[in-house]
Amino acid sequence: MEIVAIDQISPDQVILFAWGFVTINATIAYTWLIMGLLVIGSIVITGNLSSERTMSRWQNLLEVIVGTIRSEVGDIAKEGVDTYFPFIATLFLFILFSNLFTFIPGYVAPTSSLTTTSALAVVVFFAVPIYGISKNGILHYLKEYIQPTFIFFPFHVMGEFSRTLALAVRLFGNIMSHEKVIAILLAVTPLFFPVVMQALGLLIGLIQAYIFAILAMVYIASATQTHEETEHKPKKETEPVKI
């Protein structure tokens, strides 16, 4: 049961509901579904938290998820984890859930539309200078653009835009290509083999959500941490990946 036809490249073209100038396509509908699920789930679970020895299994699940993301963010950010944690965790959870539900028939991942992924990438694009300026001040942030000499200014600017484009197209390409592969396999070898590919799709969705969140964190870390590294070189430690 595929609601996106084989010759449609994006769920934006699937109109579920149109009334006057309001048109609801599949991307908007499923984005709001995921958002509602995440918000309502979080409110319900955090409604009765307990600090006793016994707790509900949902609280246990939430503690595992939040703790894991927090430690991953902390490994890269080194300091000020709580500043970046809500942003990165929101990105990760939204992409993760919208990717994982693809095994439900009739569901189309909102991340298989270029509009959703572009919006997420633009959010990261603006978050990097906001975090960098609020951490180091605007002069220090702008000084990074002319390091090591002023000739490198255009390359820094081009790098900002190209990595935003790469962020958007990577997520879109992976998820969209997977859906297309599933649709083609259903026509060629029905019944068994598409199920295996669906199971592989869960892994792809998880890895892409992880990569999107980690790359956003790495970009933010490279904008905020430049100050300390020039001051004192870390001695043979595992330093964050700089891209």
Binding site: I9, V169, R170, F172, N174
Partner: protein, 92 residues
Amino acid sequence: MDSVSIVAMASIITAGICMGIGAIGPALGQGRAVQGALSSIAQQPDERNSLTRTLFVGLAMIESIAIYCFVIAMILVFANPFWAYVIKKAGG
């Protein structure tokens, strides 16, 4: 041969060539990256977490090149702008 079949043929052949050639470089690059990461993990198993994270980020960067090729191939096959133009010309 009329222009419709020329555009269709060119699109399909170009999509195949784009995907085929575009997959060579990332495949070699990913092979080298995984090889380096595996030998590093074998030498220093304690650093596994940091190595794995860096490996995934690097693989994503390499893979994005193949993904660009794939997106262009998909556009050529499914959402070709020249195809719509030629069909409109031929029909009208």
